[in-house]
């Protein structure tokens, strides 16, 4: 077939960016996938299971990684961010700034450096629920499979224990940041999302009690490779949870926080209800919600989850969460809109369904124009925005937009737009 081949840059190595890069490269195009973190996978790699199938994200990621392994047209740059884009469709120059990894390509992944490293840091993969050494492998499915040193905690050459431990001369503490210029016919931006900062929800007192966690942390508690190996134990005393509250719209649909709906949190919390019930069949669970927004065929999932015993849906926005100082239990207060009664209930643990905020919200960026909430439009003139940096989306919607962006990007080869 005579489709013109081109070169492309995809910014963001989460599920959207991976899908876009892999699909565009399977046409024989060259593509560079730019990721800010040390490994591809983004937010989904930190999730235990996907709704509604309750299947592990690693499964789909591994297929994408397998496709990358069999395709030399894909170049991956981790620890990298775009500093500048200039040019026009068919002829962009993308300046990429790559931070030092301090571990070079000689790394075999033997783990000897980790055994030698004396310093610990909170694991960002586990949302600080566990620790890693200053030199670490981001996670089991890390892609690329290479260790990285966190320069914020590593004492540097004065320690140097990892250098001695490495038989392969792979540690390079003198590594410097680098700038690289890439040519591109089009750029696909998939910079993704971050969980809304729950500390801003002052009435919920997040951060002031250990048994109030966020939905992304819950994913780590439920994950077999998480800090509790999949056991849902509350942080204060590692007690098996028996009473759990899910607090929907923690930030979302609130004009003081995120005025929009984050689209996925209702179904995500239903999934987390299934984590709790799978772990402890007897657990009592309450979901505090405004509207249950479980779209399309996911309604079946709602129907399935509703069949659990000991599960209660309370329509009402949570007004306050406080800690019982003796037991470390949490008190959740809400108005039950259906009955009009004030609802106050004690739980072992509460989970805030914090919303999706675009990663680059509030930041100045060369990657496109943002709306008042920090989301990019769908893109134009050779720069296309997909996934959660464009609109709050579930995985399926992310992949679908990624596929469409591939076609639009290919239209730019040779300067057409």
């Amino acid at each position: 077939m005579n489709i013109k081949k081109g070169e492309f840059v995809v910014v963001g190595g989460g599920i959207s960016g991976i899908a876009a890069a892999v699909e565009i490269a399977e046409f024989g195009n060259k593509v560079t996938l730019i990721e800010k973190e040390a490994s591809l996978g983004g937010r989904v790699s930190k999730m235990s299971l996907y709704f509604p199938k309750l299947c592990p994200p690693y499964c789909g990621l591994e297929i994408y990684f397998k496709r990358i392994r069999s395709n030399p047209n894909i170049q991956i740059m981790t620890l990298s961010e775009v500093a500048n884009i200039s040019g026009t469709p068919g002829n962009f120059t993308v300046t990429v700034r790559q931070s030092p990894r301090y571990v070079n390509a000689k790394c075999t992944g033997c783990n000897d450096c980790v055994s030698a490293c004396p310093v610990e840091r909170p694991s960002d993969f586990d949302y600080s629920l566990s620790k890693t050494k200053a030199v670490y492998l981001p996670h089991e499915l890390s892609f690329p499979y290479r260790y990285v040193i966190d320069d914020k905690t590593c004492p540097g050459a004065e320690c140097g224990k990892c250098i001695l431990a490495c038989k392969y001369d792979a540690i390079d503490l003198g590594m410097k940041a680098e700038s690289v210029e890439l040519k591109a016919d089009a750029v696909i931006v998939a910079t993704g999302w971050k969980p809304y900062d729950a500390q801003k929800l002052t009435n919920l007192n997040y951060g002031k009690m250990s048994n109030l966690i966020t939905n992304v942390m819950m994913e780590r508690l439920a994950a077999p490779n998480g800090p509790t190996k999949g056991e849902i134990l509350r942080p204060s005393d590692n007690k098996k949870v028996e009473r759990v509250a899910f607090v929907q719209c923690a930030g979302s649909r609130d004009e003081n926080h995120l005025p929009y709906c984050s689209a996925v949190c209702c179904t995500a919390s239903l999934k987390q209800v299934s984590y709790v019930k799978e772990f402890n069949k007897e657990a009592q669970v309450s979901v505090f919600y405004i509207d249950l927004r479980v779209m399309g065929r996911n309604e079946d999932f709602l129907t399935k989850i509703k069949q659990h015993d000991g599960l209660k849906f309370v329509k009402g926005k949570v007004a306050r969460i406080t800690e019982d100082p003796d037991t470390k239990d949490v008190w959740v207060e809400a108005e039950d809109i259906l009955s009009g009664a004030k609802h106050r209930e004690r739980f072992d643990m509460a989970v805030l369904a914090t919303g999706i905020e675009p990663s680059l919200s509030g930041e100045k960026t060369c990657l496109g124009e943002q709306d008042k909430y920090g989301f990019f439009g769908s893109g134009k003139d050779g720069i296309f925005h997909i996934g959660c940096c464009h609109t709050p989306s579930d995985v399926s919607a992310c992949v679908k937009l990624a596929n469409g962006a591939v076609l639009k990007a290919m239209q730019c080869v040779g300067g057409r737009a």
Binding site: I3, E23, E26, S396, N403, G404, L407
Partner: protein, 713 residues
């Protein structure tokens, strides 16, 4: 091709401290018959790679076996071009990192894996891609609604020729009856034109697009790259060819006549949202049956949707649509009052702004409730509802009641494709008439290769989502045409240019391949002999697993290779008290799980031998019989989860294992062996922590049962 085998062993990453490398080298040069064997303590380093490359260049080594880390890592370093056969033996993750160092059993495991890898490499042949005669790059799109039109225009803009078939006389689908669409851009307050006339115009003007209106599909035969399509037109038939197909056959409104409880049909002023839209777009204005402007309009949400007696799913768009239609009413008559009765108001993402806009309108009342019934009292309609936010029952009088009926995929009860496939003439449906398969990770895929579902044929979507669906589906369709033209497999085996070859002289026409292929790759001749369509194949090997005559093979993956691997691991006699378990393992999920167990240094039983397979459904019963008659004590078949929420990348490979069990048990009876000697296990990629227990419990079970009496025979 004359093969010259080079085996390269890495002692790095603690492999050398765990294994006797000399003994491995001896096995390589001895039993493995390697022409060259070299050891290095850093094989993936510059020097190590040079060692291999030099042997390829100067020594004529063309078959390379690397005994080092998992093939899932360092894939970019151990890449020697397409003239060299490469096999990776996983001595690191699967041996050194998860078994006792310098232990007899660990060493046996390593040597077994080396022999298995070497024989595999020797038996692999270079693929010859399947590129059929008469390929086209054209794309067929069925359905000229907003999704199909967008696909057509997007594909044509990349230079692809498109055939668009629409059953109505006019293009545009349901959207052409739409007055305005709800806002898709900030500030999400004002209704927008649909943009449909412009889109239709673009499609009609594009010379790359051939449009057939008032036409349907009469028949589709052939395979991706060269589908033969017969189109039934108002005035005869037309014949077209296409490389791939997009099914954008859309939706129809749920039949409101079935909504007796909502009194549809009992009074002309009870209408549906579709009727409302037509009324507004026709320019007649919103009127009751007697031509009056209604003063009180009630919208009933989930009329059919989210109802186990009607449509159990949510139709996704109706909440926003009713808010939009409420705006029509309020704009026509600012004195009118609108009541929206809903279960949950579902306006996800940025549409929340639109919802807020509606909430701020003083004449629009939104009420969460369950509808009890709608009473018809002369010309007054009374909506009765319970479980309201105030906790009581309410009754609201209205002049006009609008039922927000949901979406039903057209393909639920209409034939749209007429495939001349032995496995059925339409796409298999996932649920409720929607035809997608791996809808989370790969949304456009169906169970038929080269045929993609798009728009409301795939899921209830709004116009914006249908448009973006159309663009994505067009990409997949063009990509399919491109891959087929290069002789390559489509998802998920990118880069695979093998295909199943059949030794037809021995075929007994049992048709198991035809029945078991999840993608309908096999038709049959008039005499009932299987007729392969290789371009429909996803290369999973399920047909290879199904064939009792063992006549289906791939150049680099076949029964002979797997059987040789089985014969090349040691089966100690019963006096050594070392059981042997053979685990066939899905290479996509279970194998990476094993790697992760290695990474975590999780120790497990050393008596298990792993053979990774493309899909667990590709394991032929004869391999199991061979292994058991060769003295293997037990067989594990570790595949993906099956059932409604299947995880199998080939849809039902893992499920087939259960279906084939009848034949397996016959084999066991013939051999006079216990049924427990074969065990099927479902394992997800993240369940690596289950592996040690799984292995040790099975070894224990088998040991208690006693060794296989065929041992040593």
């Amino acid at each position: 091709m004359d093969k010259k085998l080079g085996i390269y062993l890495c002692s790095g990453c603690h492999i050398g401290e765990c294994l006797d490398m000399q003994a491995l080298e001896k096995a390589a040069l001895g039993e493995c018959k390697a022409a060259v064997c070299k050891k290095h303590e850093f094989l993936c380093g510059r020097e190590g790679l040079e060692l291999i490359n030099n042997d390829i260049k100067s020594e004529g080594v063309n078959t390379v076996v690397i005994g080092a880390c998992s093939p899932r890592v360092n894939f970019d370093l151990f890449r020697f071009g397409d003239q060299v056969i490469l096999e990776r033996v996983n001595l690191r993750e699967h041996v050194a990192w998860c078994h006792k160092p310098n232990d007899e059993d660990t060493q046996m495991l390593a040597e077994d894996y080396l022999r298995m890898g070497a024989i595999k490499a020797v038996k692999i042949n270079f693929p010859e891609p399947y590129i059929a005669e008469g390929l086209t790059s054209k794309i067929l799109i069925i359905g000229g609604g907003v999704s199909g039109l967008t696909s057509a225009f997007s594909a044509a803009s990349l230079g692809t020729e498109v055939v668009l078939v629409e059953k109505q006389a006019e293009l545009g689908g349901w959207v052409k009856n739409m007055h305005r669409q709800y806002p898709k851009a900030p500030p999400h307050a004002a209704l927008e034109p649909t943009g449909l006339p412009e889109l239709i115009d673009q499609v009609k003007k594009n010379s790359k697009i051939t449009v057939y209106t008032s036409s349907t599909i009469e028949k589709i035969s052939g395979e991706p790259g060269r589908f033969e399509i017969t189109i039934k037109k108002a005035d005869g038939t037309a014949v077209e060819k296409a490389a791939s197909i997009i099914v954008a056959t859309g939706w129809k409104p749920y039949d409101a006549k079935k909504l007796e409880h909502l009194s549809f049909g009992k009074h002309p002023n009870i209408i549906t949202n579709v009727m409302m839209e037509e009324m507004v777009s026709s320019g007649r204005g919103i009127k009751t049956a007697d031509g009056q402007r209604p003063k009180r309009i009630a919208f009933i949400q989930c009329a059919g949707s989210r109802d186990p007696n009607h449509l159990p799913y949510c139709s996704s768009v109706c909440c926003n649509v009713s808010l939009k239609q409420a705006m029509y009413c309020r704009e026509q008559d600012p004195d009118s009052l609108v009541f929206v009765f809903y279960k949950d108001l579902r306006t996800p993402g940025h549409h929340e702004d639109f919802y807020r806009h509606a909430q701020n309108d003083a004449g629009t009342f939104l009420t969460k409730c369950e509808i009890t019934n709608i009473d018809v009292k002369g010309n007054t309609l009374v909506v009765n509802a319970a479980d309201t936010l105030l906790g009581k029952e309410i009754s609201v009088e209205a002049d006009l009641v609008v039922l927000a009926t949901g979406m039903v995929p057209t393909a639920l009860d209409e034939k749209v494709l007429h495939l001349a496939y032995r496995k059925g003439d339409e796409l298999p449906q996932l649920k409720y008439g929607f035809t997608d398969s791996h809808f989370i990770c790969f949304p456009y895929e169906t169970e038929r290769t080269g045929i993609y579902a798009s728009g409301c044929a795939r899921a209830p979507l709004d116009t914006d989502a249908a448009r973006s669906d159309g663009t994505g589906a067009a990409m997949k369709a063009i990509q399919c045409a491109d891959l087929i033209s290069r002789g390559m497999a489509t998802l998920p085996r990118f880069g695979d240019n093998t295909y199943p070859e059949m030794y037809m002289q021995r075929c007994t026409d049992c048709k198991r391949c035809t029945e078991e292929c999840p993608f309908g790759a096999y038709d049959e001749t008039a005499k009932g002999t299987p007729l392969p369509n290789p371009a429909r194949c996803r290369r999973c090997g399920i047909c290879m697993g199904s064939c009792p005559e063992r006549i289906i093979s791939f150049k680099n993956y076949n029964i002979e290779i797997l059987s040789s691997m089985i014969k090349n691991f040691s089966v100690p006699d019963e006096f050594e008290e070392k059981p042997r378990i053979l685990a066939f393992m899905c290479e996509n999920d279970a194998y990476p799980a094993m790697d992760m167990a290695g990474l975590r240094h999780i120790e497990y039983n050393p008596h298990v031998r792993i053979i990774p397979v493309r899909c667990i459904g590709s394991v032929n019963n004869v391999l199991i019989a061979d292994a058991l008659s060769g003295g293997v004590d037990g067989i594990l078949l570790i595949g993906c989860k099956h059932g409604d929420d299947y995880q199998c990348h080939f849809i039902r490979g893992s499920e087939l294992i259960g279906k084939r069990e009848g034949n397996l048990q016959e084999t066991l009876q013939r051999l006079a062996l216990e049924p427990e000697r074969i065990k099927a296990v479902q394992l997800s990629i993240n369940e690596y922590d289950r592996l040690p227990k799984l292995f040790s419990e099975y070894v224990e079970e088998i040991t208690e049962m006693g060794f296989n009496p065929f041992k040593g025979m």
